[in-house]
Symmetry: C2
Amino acid sequence: MTAPAIDALCIGNAIVDILAHAEDDFLAGEGLVKGSMRLIDEAEAGRLYAAMGPTVEVSGGCAGNTAAGVASLGAQAAFIGKIASDALGRTFRHDITAAGVAFPTACLEGGPATARSMILVTPDGERTMNTFLGACQELTPADIDGAVVASAATTYLEGYLWDPPKAKDAFRKAATLAHAAGRRVALTLSDSFCVDRFRDEFLGLIRDRSVDLVFANEGEIRSLYQTADFDTAVAAARADCRLCAITMGERGSLVVTHRETHHVPARPIDRIVDLTGAGDLYAAGFLTGLARDFPLAKCARLGGLCAAEVIGHLGARPEARLVDLAAEAGFAA
Amino acid sequence: MTAPAIDALCIGNAIVDILAHAEDDFLAGEGLVKGSMRLIDEAEAGRLYAAMGPTVEVSGGCAGNTAAGVASLGAQAAFIGKIASDALGRTFRHDITAAGVAFPTACLEGGPATARSMILVTPDGERTMNTFLGACQELTPADIDGAVVASAATTYLEGYLWDPPKAKDAFRKAATLAHAAGRRVALTLSDSFCVDRFRDEFLGLIRDRSVDLVFANEGEIRSLYQTADFDTAVAAARADCRLCAITMGERGSLVVTHRETHHVPARPIDRIVDLTGAGDLYAAGFLTGLARDFPLAKCARLGGLCAAEVIGHLGARPEARLVDLAAEAGFAA
């Protein structure tokens, strides 16, 4: 087996985030559940856009954020996701390419528009997402290039890929090809509402070893095992998953395998500006560490370093060069 | 004369800002002068966009930022500026309308694209702007609605309007109509490079009383009078201008008339994140104060309050409700 040319191949929904501040009253008037991600159609996207306040547009998507983080660490990253040939699609392609990520997926021609997530930021810093998937719904197995998958140390898949029906098949194809090439498959559970929608399928993927590594936060892992008790959820994850990395906010992260447990504290930070992307960037650091054969606790520490950078500013992609931060923090390249 | 229905009508270039971080080396390689605003054509805009890093898009333009500030103070604001019928134009219209600003200007059909300013933010926080004026070049006197101008307490014009040749005529028409209706005309000098390009014309507008009120910062007023000495520039401004408000960063602002001088200190702030929009928001507070017949020093204090809000976060339009901040600070509505 040749050494992987790509450290992490991230596959997910290609989304541009459209951010606006909103009061709690606005969420209540719209009947929105704070902190959730809701799927909407194009008409509702237009209606909500007209109703919401002034916006900021920035490329997003969980897997895209992770890929940008991996590249910022100086590692080789690739992204697969579907955009349309429109202005938002050009913005997405520019931004991920400018971040140093290979993006081989062809544009969709003649279908729905590029996906956007209208994110309402309430005064408490919480984010409520309203996502029009658009072109993402047209990601199909044909978009999964076997040679790219075979050359990636880890193929990383976001749980949100389970929302667009055809993307499930792309997800399964990527996992099968990665394993056939002797590579690792990772899944992030995306959010606890996503876990609610697809609990049995996610558990199936984990238990039949389609997935080697699971990323989750506390809410997601509790949702997966339908328990309010975190320790119960961790015990279940230890039994089911080959490797599971659980982020716990200010309490750091927990890495569990059948035999090992590592608790890595969070890095002290000056100020939390925006929590979006914390999990995505944790995964970026962890995956880069795995590609460099770091011990698991060191992978978790590198993940924590990346997460700390992204929560210090608005937006879910790194602003600082993570490779420099990692070097300063004593992580050898 | 009826009471004005609009507190401030702001006329300027309708621009979407496209922000990216950049190293000093990148500016040097591109031959860019740090802190300047450079006009570029569409081909150069495409080339530079491809070369620059990941971006954030947010509606901008000096006069647009000021109008958004006036509306956030709970006053009546209108904006005139030219956009195209494209994605950036829709973003601009959404954002300024969502900010509560009346925006009566029709879209340009069949001409150049909506203006964008590619802003490179270096690690020292300085911004270097590369602006493709596009549709702004098609702002003409036909876009100046006499009834709107006549109903505005102040018509506020940005110096950058002198760049697109046809917009000059729109500028002159607006000033003439405002004075015919017994209203006030204000000019912001925009930047010291803009003053360099149009010094004689700006001085002409001030000296022939086409303009009643001039907004400037220290660099701009020194550039206008071609002197390195601030006091010399202030003395010249006092002689030439009916009313001149000069922002001085952390030293606050200075308001001068032929007979009066008011120095208003800056408000203490926790942290400067981004200086963009400070002058625009100062003008928003000052103009709103004038519309409420505040004494000049109180107008300057309200301007300082608005400027302090906008430099506390990324982006040149207010995030907090300025009307609430003003009430907390003791400014009666």
